[in-house]
Symmetry: C2
Subunit: 372 residues, 2 copies
């Protein structure tokens, strides 16, 4: 993980003496902790990672997860584990003061640190000066190493397999909830460590609500549906959406699907390193704006993806000024939503390559009518 | 939700003019936001809840989740929804300044607010004075209303049903991961909105690691296992652990199981309002300390449960000084872990009643040998 730690400091204009990441209670864990400390299991509630400019990393853990931490650190000479106890020479306070002596300048990851932890660090390290290290943490995390891309690729392969199977799962009378349960089961069977977010299955008019979850609506012939779901694989997420039509064709929704596909293609045609995220969004929006469904694409085109589904790095929204770089992983997900009727969204995960992009999700994305 | 808002202020010694809860990006959402604003779906990333001493609540939302928010607020005259846009008169800044005019004292929930959001609030409300409202938020959330207990009870019923079925799922040669996938599938089929945390299934020596997840180990006759899992039901969690023995009896682990059961019974015998959490822990620990497995119960007896699995309220740890009250929901989960051999943990969820407690989880907790 030495390189990831070095990348944090490489992207900070004013170099702190250390960067500290602190986990509160789940779900308030700093996902960047798991970017710098690659540990397969464990929650590491209350743990602190101290990253140094030389690429080394100190990690504190409670006795409960000491074994897990030691196993993960065994093959990395740059990581050192400190098992902390409630008080005495192994207290968190004693360990932190030893790791950060004098009057250090300490960088923190403000977007993922709780304010409670910030106040606690002020007490634990009264001589320290705290500064914002968000830019460095964010950039280190945004550019995925090949081993990270491989985990997202595996998650995406699991999601794609299930996405490909959805048509075979559809039966008239089944509920959105039942379909979601079956999709999640299959992801787990295919090796996922659970779902990466609450599965969205919206039948008919529900498909026009982008953040609808799965409910009790039953599948009836003649409706479209949006299935937006994802798997975790060793802490890394995928995020995929496919839209299907069940039973007798709805000509308008067929044309909507074609338009969304065209919007995605237009975005992918301009997606490459050196381009600002908003340019990619605009390419998709322009396609939709030129149709009768102008204004019905009401969200950003995509977001960074990695340890979190909304990974915090540069995205593809209408105001995303940041320039895309090789190694970033983003979603590309245009959609059109006709209230009261139905919606279509197509979402894929891609990694930016030197000259363009590569698909991580592979399920067919063309229009598909499933026999009722 | 008026009562929940009032309870926040009732438990603050110095009353602020308002209490503000702010959600960052998932998973950095303040779960207390969903305690005060009972909305079934949606993430509400970036949303802010402003709670007032008269019990009313203002909630901001992006256009994306406006419909969901309006539906949830429709039946509650004390909740008002504000759809915010990037700029103009409906910007978050304009809305917050209108809701919090002058030089207000604003209470914040430090344990679940990101430091990034804290700095943003300082900018949005430059005349405000920010104070710690953790005690009020924490207490309001710790004492569950009957409608909250019913959701946990439903989640616990789902978990208990799966816990009861686990013996019928066991087959020699199956992996921990396969068993976990089957358990999660059944929870979803029985109405869960997903799992409340990563399912723990540990076979043999793995059962001696309290935070082990599910891996590739295969089930072989003669081993014990620990299954620790939970369901979400409408945002509320359950958390249940059962331990089983597969195939030919292991006399030591049978006695370990009996001891853990006795420890749980001893804890339940003293569990009631008016008692400090540490007293309940001690009752369980004393039972184990009196055996040859002294020292092998290496975690706290239990934790608060609700919107989060580790809900932040008073728990049952060895240093839990807080006094238990009617309406709190806690886990009771003693365990004994013999490294390299196996572990046993029994975990139930209970709600504190006027004079004692009531079980929410109901799966059989006695020793069970499953034929291999």
């Amino acid at each position: 993980m030495k390189r990831r730690v070095e990348q944090v400091f490489a992207h900070l204009e004013s170099k702190p003496d250390a960067v500290v990441l602190a986990n509160a209670t789940d779900p308030h864990l700093d996902q960047s902790f798991f970017h710098l400390f690659e540990v397969p299991g464990g929650l590491f509630e209350g743990s602190v990672a101290v990253a140094h400019p030389d690429g080394s990393l100190d990690v504190t853990t409670s006795p409960l997860e000491a074994e897990t931490a030691h196993l993960a650190a065994k093959h990395d000479p740059h990581v050192k584990i400190h098992v902390v106890n409630r008080d005495g020479p192994d207290s968190l306070e004693a360990v932190l003061r030893k790791l950060l002596p004098g009057t250090p300048t300490v960088g923190l990851n403000f977007p993922e640190l709780t304010h409670g932890w910030y106040l606690r660090l002020e007490k634990l390290l009264p001589s320290a000066k705290f500064v914002d290290a968000t830019a460095g943490v964010r950039h280190s995390r945004a550019i995925k190493e090949p081993s990270e891309v491989e985990k997202i690729r595996k998650a995406a392969a699991i999601g794609s397999r299930v996405g490909t199977e959805i048509p075979s799962l559809l039966k008239a009378g089944m509920t959105e909830h039942e379909l979601a349960a079956e999709m999640e089961y299959r992801m787990n069977q295919y090796g996922a460590n659970g779902r990466s977010f609450s599965t969205i299955v919206g039948f008919g008019p529900h498909s026009a609500e982008p953040h609808y979850l799965a409910g009790d609506a039953k599948l009836t012939p003649g409706v479209s549906m949006v299935c937006d779901f994802g798997a975790y694989y060793r802490r890394y997420a995928c995020d995929i959406t496919r839209s299907f039509h069940f039973g007798p064709r709805d000509d308008e929704l067929k044309r909507v699907h074609d338009t969304v596909e065209a919007a995605q293609q237009a975005a992918l045609a301009v997606l490459r390193p050196g381009v600002a995220g908003k340019v990619v969004h605009q390419a998709a929006e322009d396609v939709i704006t030129a149709t009768k469904w102008k204004g019905l694409f009401n969200h950003g085109l995509g977001h960074a993806l990695g340890l979190a589904v909304h990974d915090g790095g540069p995205g593809l929204g209408p105001t995303s000024d940041e320039i895309l770089e090789e190694g970033m992983v983003v979603t590309v997900e245009p959609g059109i939503y006709i209230q009261g009727h139905g919606g279509v969204r197509i979402e894929d995960d891609v990694v930016l390559t030197k000259n363009g992009y590569e698909f991580l999700t592979t399920a067919p994305r063309g229009y598909l009518e499933v026999s009722a």
